[in-house]
């Protein structure tokens, strides 16, 4: 449960921590079988509405891409009249080639979901209390993220240098994150289709919730 102005920082903190681990240096191929790997820089970010500092990969492109999605989630949640909570998902996937002319299929291999509940506070004492509690909770989440990431779970590897773009997002200039996408949804009355419900079930089965 967070205040409206804390949404961006809470989600950014967790997503950038995850992306920092799910990113490699830019690959430069030299011939068919040899390549070099660039290095990842990092930048500390101080939060304004939480007593927390997190770090993200030093890449303007990545920052922009993530901030845009989080901002959309923020606006949707705060402008909604009915929904007081929602969830935003960071999904890592890999592409699997299909036969013939079909486009490659995207298969998720790791899903991180952050559930946000909006709250409204009446006075400064409550605000300060929630701020401290949120700071502690966020620190615990960071340790939880590092623990999950360090498990010996599946991480895709390209079978050949020519198939890098099936695993990594090679569109970034200075870094190479694993293929990822960010989506969100708001809680509340929604028209669910069967397809959408099945998709959610499958995603929940593979996903890791925070």
């Amino acid at each position: 449960a967070v205040e409206g102005r804390q949404i961006d920082e809470v989600v950014s903190c967790m997503f950038h921590t995850i992306l920092f681990h799910r990113c490699v240096g830019k690959y430069h191929t030299k011939g068919e079988d040899s390549y070099s790997v660039g290095t990842l820089g990092y930048t500390d970010v101080d939060c304004d509405f939480i007593d927390c500092t997190y770090l993200h990969v030093t890449s303007q492109e990545l920052q922009r891409a993530v901030a845009e999605k989080i901002s959309q989630f923020h606006d949707a949640l705060r402008s909604s009249d009915t929904a007081r909570s929602g969830q935003i998902t960071l999904e890592f996937y890999q592409k699997k080639k299909q036969r013939w002319v079909f486009s490659p299929e995207s298969v998720p291999w790791e899903i991180w979901t952050v559930k946000i509940e909006l709250m409204q506070l009446s006075n400064e004492n409550e605000r300060q209390f929630i701020r401290e509690k949120l700071t502690d909770s966020l620190s615990e989440r960071i340790f939880q993220i590092t623990e999950i990431i360090n498990r010996p779970d599946y991480v895709p590897k390209p079978s050949h240098l020519s198939e890098l773009d099936l695993v990594f997002d090679t569109t970034f200039v200075d870094i190479q994150p694993y293929l990822f996408t960010i989506s969100f949804s708001l809680d509340g009355p929604q028209n669910l289709s069967v397809g959408l419900a099945m998709r959610r079930l499958i995603k929940d089965a593979f996903g890791t919730s925070l």
């Binding site: 920092f20 660039g38 290095t39 820089g41 030093t58 623990e147």
Partner: protein, 458 residues
């Protein structure tokens, strides 16, 4: 115990990676406690000359002193990957201007052969896993309470120090309810690396309490500790068997940070009260407020000594920083105290000027009070008591207010007002003795009745 044997090439690679890993981990931990935000660039192509900086595909610029300290601690011994698998620890502590210290956290990298994975390739898999664990370490160092403390450090309040040692992590001086987290682990064919942190959760420091907790740490500080002849101090302990190497203690730079000052969670119990004037105000909710000023006699004791002590302490503190900074600049010897990139020379000048100004102010104050005979009367002493009782009238002539005042200001006992002389006291005592001797029989009867009563109860 694993009986799997690595090939010589893999073993050498693992040993090399382990040393790089330990040094990088130490860099990450120490740099995160500098008190400043860090930014490094992502480089798509890393040049050969920057290989050291870009180990593990992470852009981390090494501080030479930390590397020197870490290598000294690791030494030529095969610390981790060979029996007896002595862990490598980095301890972060806080030091106040009064020389009180409090250990805040202990980071530990250990190795054990209980869990192995013989399918892991050293050159590719383990190297990448080390990179992941170092990233987890980067994130974790920002998530402990010590990080926020380190961002607020300054020579006036406290500074953050680090210490590296080989041996089992010392967690006893982290307080009763310290918290322990595992950052990450790396499986190898012959064992497993584990990175842990134990950090203090209660940040209240008591100087006496800390002294009692220094159970086996003997400080050997030289007389010229704060002078230009300062060299690295080696701390000796009473339990050298547990440590594989020397202790290297150094203080981190206490640069002023530019962030908005926030309330400090630390409550430091000061030994000296340096305030001259005090204003007592009631806490929220109580009905009473009192304002008073201290008596200042024309020829009363000076207040010079106490404030001078509080000024001297930060000055010696800052001079230590600048002197050691000069040593660092002048000497490249490894035995110098490392990592003293603290106050700049002009900042030291500013501090000196500030101290001189403060000393002048105090002198002027004392002169004001000392020269009360220059046709100037001592300031009038007055007490204003404003009583605002609950559920009563705000008028101080109310019965309730008068009652409260009389309870708070009772008259003195008569015995404290009228004090008899020595002769009168002796006469009084001799009269009392005569009375007691005349009534000896009554006292004996009282004692016998008491004895009879005891027997009846038994």
């Amino acid at each position: 115990m694993s009986e799997y044997h690595l090939s010589k090439e893999d073993y050498d690679a693992l040993e090399k990676f382990t040393k790089f890993f330990l040094v990088k981990a130490a860099q990450i931990i120490v740099q995160s406690r500098l008190g400043e935000k860090k930014t490094t660039k992502s480089k798509p192509i890393s040049s050969g000359s920057e290989w050291v900086m870009h180990r593990f595909h992470l852009s981390i610029k090494d501080i030479p002193e930390v590397t020197v300290n870490a290598k000294k601690c690791i030494g030529d011994k095969k610390l981790l990957i060979d029996s007896p698998y002595v862990p490598f620890c980095v301890e972060i502590s806080l030091r106040t201007p009064d020389r009180d210290t409090m250990t805040l956290e202990t980071w530990c990298i250990s190795f054990d052969d209980s869990v192995t994975d013989q399918t892991q390739r050293v050159r590719f898999y383990i190297y990448n896993r080390m990179s992941i664990v170092l990233r987890s370490l980067l994130c974790a160092t920002r998530s402990t309470p010590t990080y926020q403390l380190s961002r607020k450090q300054s020579p006036d309040k406290y500074i953050i120090c680090y210490r590296m040692y080989s041996g089992e992590p010392l967690v006893n001086h982290l307080g009763e309810h310290y918290s322990k987290k595992t950052i990450g682990s790396i499986l190898t064919p012959i064992g497993r690396f584990v990175v842990n942190v134990a950090y203090r959760t209660r940040l209240t420091v008591s100087p006496q309490h800390e002294q009692q907790q220094n159970y086996n740490l003997a400080l050997d500080i030289k007389d010229d500790h704060f002078t230009s002849g300062y060299r690295q101090t080696n701390f000796t302990t009473g339990d050298d068997d547990s440590s594989g190497g020397g202790y290297n203690d150094a203080q981190l730079p206490s640069e002023q940070n530019g962030s908005v000052p926030k309330s400090s969670p630390i409550e430091v119990m000061k030994r000296r009260h340096t305030s001259c004037d005090s204003e007592v105000s009631s806490s929220h909710g109580t009905p009473e407020k009192m304002y008073f000023s201290k008596l200042r006699a024309a020829f009363g004791p000076t207040i010079r000594d106490t404030p001078r002590t509080s000024i001297e302490t930060p000055s010696s503190f800052s001079r230590q920083n600048s002197n050691n900074h000069n040593n660092f600049n002048n000497n490249n010897d490894d035995s110098d105290l490392p990592f003293l990139m603290t106050l700049q020379h002009d900042q030291q000048q500013q501090n000196d000027k500030q101290m001189e100004q403060e000393e002048e102010d105090i002198r002027s104050q004392t002169n004001f009070y000392m020269t009360g005979d220059n046709n100037e009367t001592a300031p009038d002493d007055f007490i204003l008591v404003e009583v605002k009782p609950f559920f009563g009238k705000s008028d101080s002539t109310d019965d309730l207010a008068l009652f409260i005042r009389s309870c708070r200001q009772p008259p003195k006992l008569e015995s404290f007002i009228v004090e008899p002389s020595l002769g009168e006291t002796i006469n009084q005592l001799s009269e009392e003795l005569l009375v007691f001797e005349s009534k000896v029989e009554e006292f004996d009867q009282l004692v016998s009745t008491l004895e009879n009563n005891n027997k009846n109860f038994e």
